[in-house]
């Protein structure tokens, strides 16, 4: 059971360097907010992992570690939903090109499970091509018990 009776809305926006250190920073920031929002330990683990996978994608596959490019990381908690938006300045990515990691012929692939794990752990996952050319993903975890 999630408790959000004492929850106060919060929203932050960061522009992170395209480094793996940013992955830890993003996770730490969002975990603090998720705890204050009343998420239980299981949801915290899921949100943390979804954020790590998303920011890694933005840093590694989107911005390709380019020091001149930033990762936009925005988190909002309104008492109903915990929403994370992660945008990169890359050249766009065709998510439909990722093979199904659960297909028998793909089980022994060493990569390609990140998006699958994000979808598994969050209540909603959307992605879109930004007008500027990068990719933005939106992750949502519902705060209100179903």
């Amino acid at each position: 059971m999630r408790e959000n009776a004492s929850h106060r809305p919060e929203a932050v926006e960061w522009f992170l360097d395209s480094t793996l250190e940013s992955v830890d920073s993003a996770e730490e920031l969002a975990m603090g907010m998720a705890q204050r929002a009343g998420m239980d330990e299981d949801d915290l683990m899921k949100i943390g992992m979804a954020i790590r996978e998303s920011v890694v994608n933005a840093v590694v596959h989107g911005n390709r570690y380019n020091a001149h490019k930033k990762v936009r990381f925005a988190v909002a908690s309104d008492g109903q939903q915990f929403t994370i938006r992660i945008g990169d300045e890359g050249e766009g990515f065709d998510f439909s090109s990722i093979p199904d990691p659960l297909a028998p012929e793909n089980l022994l692939r060493t990569s390609g499970r990140g998006i699958f794990l994000i979808r598994s752990f969050m209540d909603d996952f959307q992605m879109r091509r930004l007008e500027s050319g990068g990719t933005e993903v939106t992750l949502v975890k519902n705060l209100v018990s179903k």
């Binding site: 793996l20 992992m49 996978e53 890694v56 692939r109 990569s111 499970r113 990140g114 699958f116 794990l117």
Partner: protein, 114 residues
């Protein structure tokens, strides 16, 4: 804490005790290097003890798969020991739990290599 590996020999089985986080970067590359090093030295029976692993991401899962493939292709066997709930859940939702030979008891795991 990133990841710490301790290697020990039990009979002809090499046990790697893994502690910490297996994530993209140092954590996954350390594990990859350790397994490739063992295979290059002819060690073909490897037991990965993941009991002290606090966190693993998709990159870490990929390294487990890579190690499994590397050892299997060399004619050996890579097995897993002491999965905590999080790691076990991850392997189950990625359908890898049935790919690996997973054990909860070290003595039994060692015997299974015979």
């Amino acid at each position: 804490m990133s990841v710490k590996l301790t290697t020990r020999q039990v009979g002809d089985v090499t046990v790697i005790d893994v502690a910490g986080r297996i994530t993209l970067g140092e954590g996954s590359s350390v594990l990859r290097d350790a397994m490739r090093d063992l295979v290059s030295k002819g060690q073909k029976k490897i037991l990965l003890n993941l009991g002290e692993v606090s966190y693993i991401d998709s990159s870490g899962i990929g390294e487990l798969v890579s190690g499994f493939t590397t050892v299997t292709n060399s004619g050996g066997a890579l097995k897993l020991l002491n999965l905590n709930k999080r790691v076990k859940d991850l392997l189950q939702i990625t359908k890898l739990y049935t790919v690996f030979d997973v054990h909860e008891d070290e003595a039994g795991a060692i015997r299974s290599f015979a």
